[in-house]
């Protein structure tokens, strides 16, 4: 089964769970006075769950015939069947780095975490000219921080939490 139909299967399952929540669990919390309304918080989700299941089944069963395409993806597209041929390691490491950045942004402060993120990110991609990368990253971080915090007035904690700022 091709990936798109697996996704359709997951989607149909998801719609069933969503629909179960909408049809059976949501209305229990509804205060009595709202039950006299013609429309409930669960009305729209119910409609969506039903529609989603129908459309998902159409994709899953292949009712709508896709146009016959010659299955030769161009050099720039990604063929997921040969994922190992691509730089999947780099991609996963970058995703991990983003998660780490999200967790460190508050405790470590904007300036340190962002500079580190940019430098480590380009290192993962294979950059080795640290004498260029580190100043560029630091400068860009400082510029963005100044723009966002000082010019636009949106608070970004610049330094780590123990420095009290």
């Amino acid at each position: 089964m091709a990936l798109d139909r697996w996704i359709a299967l997951i989607f149909v399952t998801f719609c069933c769970i969503y629909g179960y929540a909408a049809f059976f669990t949501m209305d229990q919390l509804l205060p009595p006075f709202m039950q006299r309304n013609p429309v409930w918080p669960s009305t729209f989700p119910k409609v969506l769950a039903v529609l989603g299941t129908i459309v998902g089944m159409i994709v899953l069963l292949g009712v709508e015939k896709a146009e016959d395409k010659d299955d030769a993806p161009s050099a720039t597209e990604i063929n997921y069947r040969r994922l190992g041929d691509y730089k999947i390691g780099q991609a996963l490491m970058l995703l991990g780095l983003m998660v780490l950045y999200a967790l460190m942004l508050r405790p470590a402060g904007f300036l340190i975490s962002t500079t580190t993120f940019l430098v480590v990110g380009s290192t993962i991609l294979g950059e080795r000219k640290f004498h260029i990368m580190i100043p560029v990253a630091a400068l860009a971080t400082g510029f963005v921080w100044y723009l966002v915090q000082e010019v636009l007035g949106i608070f970004l904690r610049p330094f780590p939490f123990f420095m009290g700022m």
Binding site: Y18, K65, A75, T76, I78, L95
Partner: protein, 507 residues
């Protein structure tokens, strides 16, 4: 009307006001390029500055400049990085980004600038002519019609999908609508599908989803397959020689600009519809009108596909001033903030604005012309420098794209859970792209979801059930149109296949 135009010219053409327009356009363009800061937030940030000016006309002129600048800036990041920072420029990235990847970034930006200019200017002319009359028509639209209009908008995305893709596009739309139900709905004050997480109480933010659907998968694809980034060089984008579009392309654009500035303007007039729907509908309509090869081009860097949403969103922005200036009803988030600024300056927009303080009314309209012109004059020379962003080496560019993606989601919410959500949704979007699912419908469904449900619920309450569909002919008409839009593509393919089979059989 002529008298009014002269009053407006007099007010707008003072040295102070011209400086305001120039400053506003520049500030708007540069801040608008940062994903995550759309026109709404930029105008909100500029309000204190505008109020200290004291002069309502000057303040409005400054804010109008910022508004147009921000929309153009937003298109820049859509075209260059596939990172639409504003809902209204999502459609711009459909053809703008493929064009930039073909090494025609400069040309794409020029087309965007010219189309925006034309859309904004024609919109302003229409505003001058139709403002008074239109305000009464806009009031005829009730929540039932809005509901139906949005269903039409969502069905129009069937047009985004190619043949055999309609069901997939609909599936993504429904997923978008489902994501929009997370959090506390405006009408019910009851958290839904938050799974007990406090961070989901206010729902998923638009910026997070937009970044996750477009910018992040694109960056991941660039990482996975370095050949993808290298394709930039095909057309010699490092030099960015071809800023101009050819005469034929210009000719192809003219009818698109003509149609979309009118259509965009009238959609913009409807309160609540605004630039987003205008740009999506504009794209869909042009794609459906185009024939044969031209239609194939859409999504792969079509000139028409870029010009259509750019013209429509600027014309709609102008159109959204109609309900604000004539009725005092803001049609969009941005005009709502402008309304706040006006009230702070002791001007009450409404039916009496045109008669009591004509100089303000006309100064705003004239400043739209100046704003559009200044934007074109300022930005055309800047385009080569802006487009240089793409010639930054890959090892530097990708971390920066990821960083701006994360920043966009973070600035709006100041919440690092949002960043985790972004990464999670981004991985999901990347997998969906592997399987050839279109992602734009998901985002459109998400954007329209809340409005759709609110209007649906309101009409249900007003008519105590589904009677509004029968009792309001306009609603019924729009819903029928929506059904046709969904069914037409599959009917067409079926007929084409039958015909092809017939040929094969020899008749």
């Amino acid at each position: 009307m002529l008298e009014g135009i002269f009053i407006g010219l007099e007010a707008a053409f003072s040295i102070q006001n011209i400086l305001m327009v120039v400053a506003g356009c520049l500030i708007g363009t540069f801040i608008g390029m940062l994903p995550g800061l759309g026109p709404m937030s930029i105008i909100a940030i500029m309000i204190p500055v505008a109020i200290t000016l004291g002069d309502p006309a000057a303040a409005l002129i400054l804010l109008a400049g910022v508004y147009y600048g921000a929309i153009f800036g937003g298109s820049t990041s859509s075209i260059l990085l596939n990172a639409p920072g504003v809902a209204g420029t999502v459609a711009t990235s459909f053809d703008g980004y493929p064009m930039a990847r073909k090494g025609q970034a400069g040309k794409a930006l020029t087309i965007a600038a010219v189309a925006s200019f034309a859309g904004g200017t024609i919109g302003a002319i229409l505003l001058m002519i139709f403002a008074p009359a239109l305000s009464s028509v806009a009031l005829l639209f009730h929540s039932a019609e809005y509901f139906a209009l949005m269903v039409v908008g969502l069905s129009a995305i069937a047009a985004f999908a190619g043949t055999g893709q309609v069901a997939k596009a609909l599936m993504m739309t429904i997923l978008g609508l489902i994501l929009a139900t997370v959090g506390e709905g405006a009408l019910f004050n009851m958290p839904r599908f938050t799974m007990g997480l406090m961070d989901l109480q206010s729902g998923i933010s638009f910026i997070t989803l937009a970044m996750a659907m477009f910018a992040l998968p694109e960056a991941m694809f660039l990482v996975l397959n370095p050949a993808r980034g290298a394709s930039n060089a095909e057309g010699g984008s490092n030099k960015i020689t071809n800023l101009r579009f050819s005469r034929e392309e210009g000719k192809a654009m003219i009818p698109v600009i003509g149609r979309q500035s009118v259509q965009g303007f009238f959609i913009g007039v409807l309160p609540g519809a605004g630039a987003t729907i205008a740009s999506f509908l504009g794209y869909a309509v042009e794609r459906n009108i185009a024939k044969g090869e031209e239609q194939e081009e859409f999504g792969k860097g079509s000139v028409k596909g870029l010009a259509a949403p750019e013209t429509a969103n600027n014309a709609a922005c102008t159109g959204s001033f109609v309900p604000l200036l004539t009725l005092g009803i803001p049609g969009s988030g941005t005009t709502a903030i402008l309304l706040g600024a006006l009230i702070a300056l002791n001007v009450t927009p409404g039916p009496r604005l045109m008669t009591d303080t004509p100089e303000i009314f006309w100064a705003v309209i004239i400043s739209m012309f100046i704003g559009n012109l200044v934007l074109l004059v300022l930005n055309l020379p800047l385009i080569p420098y802006i487009a240089k962003i793409l010639s930054i080496p890959r090892n530097y560019l990708i971390p920066f794209i990821l960083f701006f993606t994360l920043m966009g989601a973070y600035i709006g919410q100041n919440n690092s859970t949002e960043l985790l959500l972004l990464v999670g949704l981004g991985v999901m979007a990347t997998i969906l792209r592997f399987a050839d699912y279109p992602l734009a419908p998901l985002l459109i469904g998400f954007i329209l979801g809340t409005m759709l449900e609110d209007n649906f619920a309101r009409s249900m309450q007003l008519y105590r059930g589904l009677d509004f569909i029968i009792e309001r002919p306009m609603t019924l008409g729009l819903l029928v149109l929506a059904g046709l839009l969904v069914l037409l593509p599959s009917y067409r393919t079926r007929r084409a296949r039958k015909r092809a089979e017939g040929v094969a059989d020899g008749d």
